[in-house]
Structures are given as C-alpha cells and as structure tokens.
C-alpha cells in the first residue's frame, strides 16, 4: 500500500472507532450498583440483604452542617436549603427540625385513640378522667398554657402530644430559631437521596446538586456547607481514585510512547499501536450492549484490565517484521502462535460464562469478544497499514548481546523446584488473613472524613449504617404484631445502654389487633358523658367545653383500624413504607438502630424469637457475599486453567512442549501470590483479576520463547518483542503500584510483580537456547 493509502487507511480506522465509541457511549448504560456484580440472591432473605447493602435507608443519608454565619442567618440558610432539596427529584426527604410533630396530621387525628398506647393501661372512666382534668388545670396555670388551649376541647387526655413524643427521635438535636442547631453553632440537616448509597455516580450528582442549591441561596457565600454520609464518602473515594488513575495512566501512556519510539524508531507506529486494542474494547462494549443492555462499572474496570494482554498483539507484529520480505510475512510467521494464545485465552474465559454470576458473565462476553476482535484486527487490518520503512530488530547489536547473555545464563534444573518449595513455604507461613473480604478496605475512607461522619451522625441521632434489626412474618400486620411483642425487650436494651434507640415499626403504627383492643375499650357516648360529668364536678372548666372530645371518641369507636397502606399516605407514611418490605410473599420489618453499643446483646433476640427477629450486620453480611463471590471466581478460574491446559495440550499434541509453556506460567503466578502473601497482603478480588492478567501475559512470553524458530534472527525478534512487552507492562503497572490508592496499588504491584516472574521463569524454563532442546523435543 502507498504512503497515501496507508494514511487514508489509518484515518478511516480512527474515524470508524470514534463513531463506534460515540454510538456505544450513547447506548451503554453503566450501572454502578455493586449488587449487580454479586451472586444472584437465592432466597428472599438474601434479596432483602442485597437491597439493604446498597439501598438501605441509612446508606442513602447525606448529613449536612452549615457553619460560619450568625445563628439567625444559619436558620434562614437551613430553611432555604431544605426548601430547594424538597423540590429536587434526586432527594426523597430533606429535614432540618422545622417539621412540627405537635400538629398531628388531620388525616390521622381521628385515629389518635387507636394509635396512642394510653388505652392499653387506662380506661376513660371517672377516676382516670378526673386525674387528667386536674392535670390540665395545672397545665393551664403553667407558662406554656397558650399552646395547650387549642387542643384541650378535643383532646383533654393529650393523646396528640403522646403520639408526637412517641414519634420524635430520642436523640434529635436542639432547636434554635426553629431549626436544628448543634452546640458548635452549626445548622444540622439530613437529606435522603433517591439513588442507593453505593451508586457513586448518582451520589456525586446528588451532592453536586446539593452544593449548587446551597450556593444559590442568599448569604451562602459567608457560610460553609459540610457534607458527610456513606454516599458522600463513597463518591469522594471514587473521584480521588479516578483522578489518581487518570494521572498515572497519562504518565504511563507517555512512557509507553517513548518506549515504542526507542524500540522501533518510528513515529507512525504510535498511530497504529492502539488501534487493535481500541477496536477490541469497542467491540466488547458493543457486545455487552447487545447481550445485556447495561454493564456494571466493575465489569468495565476488570474487563479493561484483563484486556491489557491485547496490547501485546501489535507489538509482536512490529517486532517480527523481517528485512527483505513484505510487510505481512512477519505476521504470517507469528500468527499461528498468536492465534493459539488468543483462542486458548478465550476458551479459558468461557469458564466465566458458566459461572452463573451476571457480573462474571458480562466480563466473559466483553473479554472474549474484545480479544477476538483485537486479534483479528492485528492479523488482517494492521499489516497493510504498517510503514514501509522499518528497522529489522534482528540486526540490533543490543539484541545480539542480550540474546548471548540470556543463552549463557545458568539454568539449574533444581531452580523451579526450589522456587516452588519457597512459594509453598511462604504461603503456608504467611500472616493471616488470606482473603480481604471487606471491599471497603481497598477504598478506605480518610480517617478525618469518618470522624466527621461519626460526629454528625451522633449529633443528628441518625441511624447506624452497619446494624439493622430484621423482623420476619407472613404479612405486614404480623410484622407489626411481632414488633409489639419485642418492644418490652427493646426498652430493656435501651435502659441497659446496649443501644440508644430502636425505631420499631410498631412505634409508628400498632397492629390491627392492638388497635381493635384499644377501640373496644373506648366507652359509648352515654358512659363517657356520665364519667366526664362526674370527673368535672367542682372543676372550673366551662360547661360543654369538652363536647368535641365526646364526639371524637364516639367517631373513633366506628373507625376501621388504620392499615399500613392507609398510614403510608400520611406525612409520616414514608418512614413506615421504608420499614415494611415485601419480598416473594414474605414480609420484613427493617428496624433502624441508633447508637449500637453492644451488638452481642441485640443478637440474642434471634434465639428468643425462634429466628423471627434477627440482628443483621451489614458489614459481615456483605463480606460473606464477597467471599461467596470469590469462591465463584476461584471455581471459574480453576475451570479456566483446566480449559487452558487442554487447549494448549491439544494444539501442541505434545505434553513436553505444553509443559514448557504451562509450567513457568503456573509457577510464576504462584510466586507472585506467594510474595504478596509473604508481605502480609490479604488477597482481594482485585488481586485475582491482576494475577489473571499477568498469567495471560506470561502465557505469551512462554509460548513465544518456546516456539521453534528457523534461525537466530527470528529468535532475536521474539526476544525483542517480549522485552518491549515486559518493559511496557512493568512501566504501566509499576506506576500504578506507586499509587497511594490501595486498589490501584493492588492491581499495579500484582501485575508488575507477576510479569517479572513470568519473564524470568519463561527464560529459565520455556526458552529454547540451543540445539540440544530441539533434539530433545524431536527425540
């Protein structure tokens, strides 16, 4: 192809990729919800657990403090912010203390005798009413009397106040100027996001909207808005990890470009080297759109990491060009082996398809399609576009020296066995724990951020994010009955300081049975009138003052009990709706806990209730899920390894040659893991993915070193290609290993370490160095 034709070809290819990228970007839905990457829940309990892990009400809370302005300005800012957030679809709730509970909602007012616990202990008879009326007389003499006068005629026993008290959080902050103000002169607020706490992208969007709403308020410039909460911390960590990853990959890309210029002395190579990988990645994404519709963020992150092997394909082609032959001759020479590497990797990833975990299936589809397309692009699209003028690397004096040095390197036969023994010893004696199941440990929150979150949470009396009390029953009403049965136990916990507060669903709505029994205790009109008249004797209340009370009690006798469905439409209904959850015909009462001091005491409830109530520890539950997920990955990797062995064995039809390729790869993987473990690193999913990428690269090194070649020139070209590949991988991943972000460090250090071991062991165990090896294989 002419120089002009090549230029047109490269430009067209890039344009096509840009178009494809545009199309994919507009159809691909990236889902950042960690749950879709977990094994599918097998029963209703697990479904609830999965919901709560990413979706629990406590994980959706954003806690806010406004400071730096005088108190009256703070109150105005607090009111203004709540007002804006209530109008924003991204938030389901925004509170700042201004919502008065004293004024019971008109819809609930008639139900007060059914909702309040007064009638459980008392009857509206003469002695009780007399005692109440005498107290009301004293109330009228107290400085706060005027607030009472309005409700007195309807509610002389003050059931509305009893309900307001019951529904007020036990640890609400103090009010000043009508809003919550902390002792540090900050206005405190809580907002609940619509998006789950783990959806870092949606959380970041909600936080940006919140900041914009605050900045738009008058006088906001003088004040400072502090935000915290699980979603906020998650979004912060995600943003800093992304910024760090982008910075390091920019440096890595520049380093890679310099490496290529040094290795091939050609600038046009730079325009070509990324094409197969980019084509593969886009094809993989397109396949995901077609097959799944949406992709999990982690699938993409893991998928792109695993796709790193495809970066080697064009490098092999560049290094294997031969002086004096046409541009495709070198490709034809290495293609059978490259094809073997690609096909065997794809066969191995088939194991992920069979895993049954949606996240892993997506990973398999992406990786297989991407590798096949990157390989095909390298074989058929790349060669015609290669620059005509090039340098045959076989002629490089440096390569000749390197080849001699490697050939002369001692290869003690015992070395692999010693390495194996050392690796096993290291694994055996490595400090516990072997696995890191806490995904959060790889993305740790800054301690100052956590401390601030803890302070705000305590000041606001916001529920604990880790623990949840779960009630199981067959219906919503049965959950409420269960909740009533354990309320005495819960009060004991609170007085024993095992927990600060427990928001049982029955605190909001009593069961039907309880409501009916209270209703049954309400006297009829004649009885009540007689009791009230007797109770009023000699008391100075105006005659007929309590007629509304008599009417209300009469009306309450005929009400049908308030059901959860009706209650959910009242202003407090959202609270109850979030607590009563139905899954597959079973009902769950999710009870928020505030300030858990002694989880072991709370955990005892399971035994007392025969398992109907249990303490859910979301941290340990999510760790269990991660462990299950890892088991699936390990099984899939095990099957993948067997498939790889079969594929390589079948391709070679020679056990010795297969052994020379697979043994260094396996041993190097083991050594990389052993070094990590000996350094006390507990292994996470990210380490597993990194080890898998390194193994894919190591397979290439071993396959190419083991390849029988016609002459020393071709062996030098193989060495050159491999050295460029190793240098590129160590450069890019070594940079990641310097990161302060644990996730990036885990991936970077593991791949860099693995690649180094794979290269060394390939030169030791797979490399053909002299004719004796050829003879040995032939014989």
């Amino acid at each position: 192809m002419s120089g002009r034709g090549r230029l047109v070809g490269i430009t067209l290819w890039w344009l096509a990729l840009a178009l494809a990228a545009f199309a994919v970007q507009h159809t691909l839905v990236v889902n950042n919800d960690l749950r879709s990457f977990m094994p599918p829940p097998r029963n209703a309990d697990q479904k609830v657990l999965m919901d709560e892990i990413g979706d629990g009400p406590a994980s959706r809370l954003l806690l806010m403090a406004i400071s730096g302005a005088p108190p009256e300005k703070l109150a105005a800012l607090s009111r203004g912010l709540v007002h804006s957030l209530r109008a924003d679809k991204r938030f389901t709730q925004a509170v700042n203390g201004s919502e008065s509970l004293i004024q019971l909602d008109a819809k609930l007012l008639p139900y007060r005798y059914l909702l309040s616990p007064t009638l459980d202990r008392a009857r509206f008879d003469e002695p009780f009413l007399r005692e109440q009326l005498e107290e009301r007389l004293q109330d009228l003499g107290s400085p706060a009397a005027s607030s009472l006068e309005d409700i007195l005629p309807h509610d002389p026993t003050l059931e509305t106040l009893a309900l307001a008290q019951r529904w007020t959080p036990r640890h609400a902050p103090a009010l000043r100027d009508g809003v919550w103000i902390s002792s540090h002169e900050e206005a405190l607020l809580i907002a609940t996001t619509r998006a789950p706490g783990l959806d870092t992208a949606a959380q970041a969007e909600a936080i940006a909207a919140l900041r914009a709403a605050f900045t738009a308020l008058p006088d906001a410039a003088a004040a400072k808005l502090t935000i915290s909460g699980p979603g906020y911390i998650g979004a912060q960590i995600a943003a800093s990890t992304r910024a760090e990853a982008e910075r390091l990959s920019a440096i890595g890309t520049a380093g890679f470009a310099i490496l290529l210029l040094l290795a091939y002395r050609s600038a046009s190579i730079l325009a070509l080297v990324a094409l197969p990988l980019a084509s593969g990645a886009l094809a993989g994404l397109a396949a995901l759109v077609l097959v799944f519709g949406n992709v999990h963020g982690i699938t993409l992150a893991f998928g792109f990491t695993l796709l790193g092997v495809a970066q080697e394909y064009p490098l092999r082609v560049f290094s294997h060009r031969r002086a004096g032959s046409d541009s495709t001759a070198g490709v034809r020479g290495v293609w059978p082996l490259l094809r073997l590497a690609i096909v065997s990797a794809c066969i191995a990833y088939l194991a992920f398809l069979a895993s049954g975990v949606p996240g892993l299936q997506q990973l398999a589809v992406f990786t297989i399609v991407a590798l096949l397309v990157a390989g095909a692009a390298t074989r058929w699209l790349l060669p015609p576009l290669l620059p005509e003028r090039f340098r045959d690397v076989a002629a490089s004096p440096l390569m000749q020296r390197a080849q001699r040095w490697l050939a002369a390197m001692p290869r003690p036969r015992a070395l692999p066995w010693i390495a194996l023994a050392l690796a096993l010893l290291a694994l055996w004696f490595a400090p516990a724990p072997l696995w890191q199941n806490n995904l959060a440990a790889l993305a740790p929150a800054p301690p100052a951020e956590l401390a601030r979150e803890g302070k705000l949470r305590a000041a606001l009396g916001a529920p604990d994010v880790r623990y949840l009390l779960v009630l199981h029953a067959d219906s919503a009403d049965a959950v409420l009955q269960l909740s009533e049965r354990i309320s005495a136990q819960v009060d004991q916990w609170i007085s024993a300081h095992a927990v600060d507060d427990v928001e049982l669903p029955s605190r909001w709505l009593p069961s039907m049975e309880t409501q009916r029994s209270r209703q049954a205790r309400l006297p009829d009109r004649a009885t009540l009138t007689a009791a009230l008249d007797a109770a009023l004797k000699d008391l100075p209340f105006q005659p007929g003052l309590f007629a509304p009370f008599i009417d209300d009690v009469e009306a309450a006798r005929d009400l049908s009990p308030l059901s959860p469905e009706v209650f959910e439409h009242s202003p407090f209904g959202a609270r109850l709706a979030a607590m009563l959850v139905e899954r597959d015909g079973k009902w769950y009462g999710l009870t928020a806990l505030d300030g858990v001091h002694d989880p072991s005491v709370l955990a005892g409830i399971a035994a007392q209730t025969g398992g109907a109530v249990h303490l859910l520890d979301l941290k340990s539950a999510s760790e269990t899920l991660v462990a299950q997920y890892r088991t699936r990955i390990l099984q899939a990797l095990g099957v993948a390894f067997v498939l790889l062995v079969l594929a390589v064995g079948l391709a070679f039809r020679n056990a010795r040659r297969a052994w020379h390729v697979l043994a260094p790869m396996s041993l190097a993987t083991l050594l990389a893991i052993a070094v990590l473990r000996a350094c006390g690193v507990p292994l996470s999913l990210f380490h597993l993915v990194a080890v898998t990428l390194a193994a894919g690269l190591g397979l290439h090194y071993a396959l190419f070193f083991e390849r029988p070649v016609a002459d020393a020139d071709e062996a030098r070209r193989t060495l050159h290609a491999t050295l460029v590949c190793v240098a590129a991988a160590v450069l890019v991943f070594g940079l990641l290993a310097t990161s302060a972000e644990p996730v990036l460090r885990a991936i970077g250090a593991t791949v860099a370490l693995g690649v180094a071991f794979h290269f060394i062991l390939s030169t030791q165990m797979a490399m053909r160095t002299d004719s004796t090896r050829h003879d040995r294989d032939a014989g």
Partner: protein, 204 residues
C-alpha cells in the same frame, strides 16, 4: 444617600423614650434575685380564675425560675432554650423554648427588663411609660406580631424602683396578673377581676 437619612430615623425608632430607659435601668435586679408572687390567671376555658402562689427566681440573662407552692407544687425553670417543668412526684418534663414561641418572646422581655437593658427591650417591644398617682405604668407592646401572636401587651406597674405587678394580656382575652413582693401577700379583691387587680397594682 437615602440610607444616610434613614439610618438616624431607624435608630430613633428603636430607642426607648428617655424617661422609660431611665426607669428600666433602675429596675435592674442584682443576680440572683427572687420574689414572692401571687398570680391570678384568667383563662376563657375556665369559669373562674386560677390563683397560684409561689416564688419567682431570676438567675441572670436567659435564666428564670417560677415555683408554684399553692394550690399544688410545680417548678418551671427556663435556661437558655430549655424548659423543664417538674410537678410534685412526677418525672420532670423537658421541652424546647422553640416549641412555645409566645413563652420565648415573654422570656426575652423578662430577661431584658430584669437586666435593666432598655435597648434590648426596645428591639422586641414598643415601650410607653405613664406616671400615675401611686407610681408608674410601663406598657410593652410586641413589634412583631408573628412570634408572639398570643401576647397582646405586657404591663408592668410599680413605684420608685420597685415593680409591683406584671400583667400579661393575651390576644384571645386570656390574661395573667402577677402581684409581686409585698403585694403577693395582699388580700385579693373579691371577685378578682382584671380591673380590680389593676386598681390594686396602681394603688399608692
């Protein structure tokens, strides 16, 4: 420009009349101060007024106590925004002053009055002073209708440096007259109407 002209006028409006300011400064009580009282409360929901006897305690800005000794025992303490009501052998009830805005407005007035702070009082109330034969009558009318919708006016009767009566007139017709110091032990007019009590408060 306009602002330059308005500012002195605004300052003038918020300044109490000079003789009232002088009187208020003289009403300042040393901390802590306490005085016996007899309170007659007129509540429209009741057929006869409530009569309470006890002691008022002033503990400095934002600290006020009211003890009822008869006909029942009750102690109300207000400290900052926290109100605590303790009745005989019951567990104390706590509530936030924010929950009772009219009480909060009243509290602000009391603090400013007992602290002798005429300027602070003038930010909350319009102040007028009338001299009468036996002494003087200081009338405080809230500026801002919203937070003190219940309170129409707050009248202090006294002579020399001594307040004799606090009278709270509420918008709904309810009223409370507190007879202080020596007057607390005086014989109440029968029947104890607001008019009869006003005469008692202004008697020389």
């Amino acid at each position: 420009m306009t602002f330059g002209i308005l500012l002195p006028a605004l300052l003038l409006a918020a300044t109490p009349p000079p003789d009232a300011a002088d009187l208020i400064a003289r009403l300042k009580r040393p901390v802590p101060a306490s005085t016996a009282y007899t309170e007659v409360r007129f509540v429209h929901q009741l057929t006869r007024p409530l009569i309470l006897r006890g002691e008022l305690d002033y503990g400095g800005a934002d600290k006020l106590g009211k003890r009822v000794d008869a006909p029942y025992r009750e102690t109300t303490t207000i400290s900052g925004d926290n109100v605590t009501v303790t009745r005989a052998d019951r567990t104390p009830k706590h509530f936030d002053l924010e929950r009772a805005p009219e009480l909060k407005a009243l509290m602000g007035g009391f603090s400013a009055l007992l602290g002798g702070d005429a300027a602070a009082l003038a930010t909350l109330y319009t102040i007028s002073l009338v001299d009468n034969t036996g002494g003087w009558t200081l009338t405080l009318t809230p500026h801002d209708a919203a937070p003190s919708a219940h309170l129409r006016e707050f009248v202090i009767d006294g002579a020399g440096n001594e307040p004799h009566c606090f009278t709270l007139q509420q918008a709904n017709g309810d009223a409370s007259v507190m007879l202080l110091g020596p007057l607390a032990a005086a014989k109440l007019p029968q029947p104890p109407t607001t008019a009869a009590l006003a005469t008692l408060c202004r008697a020389p």
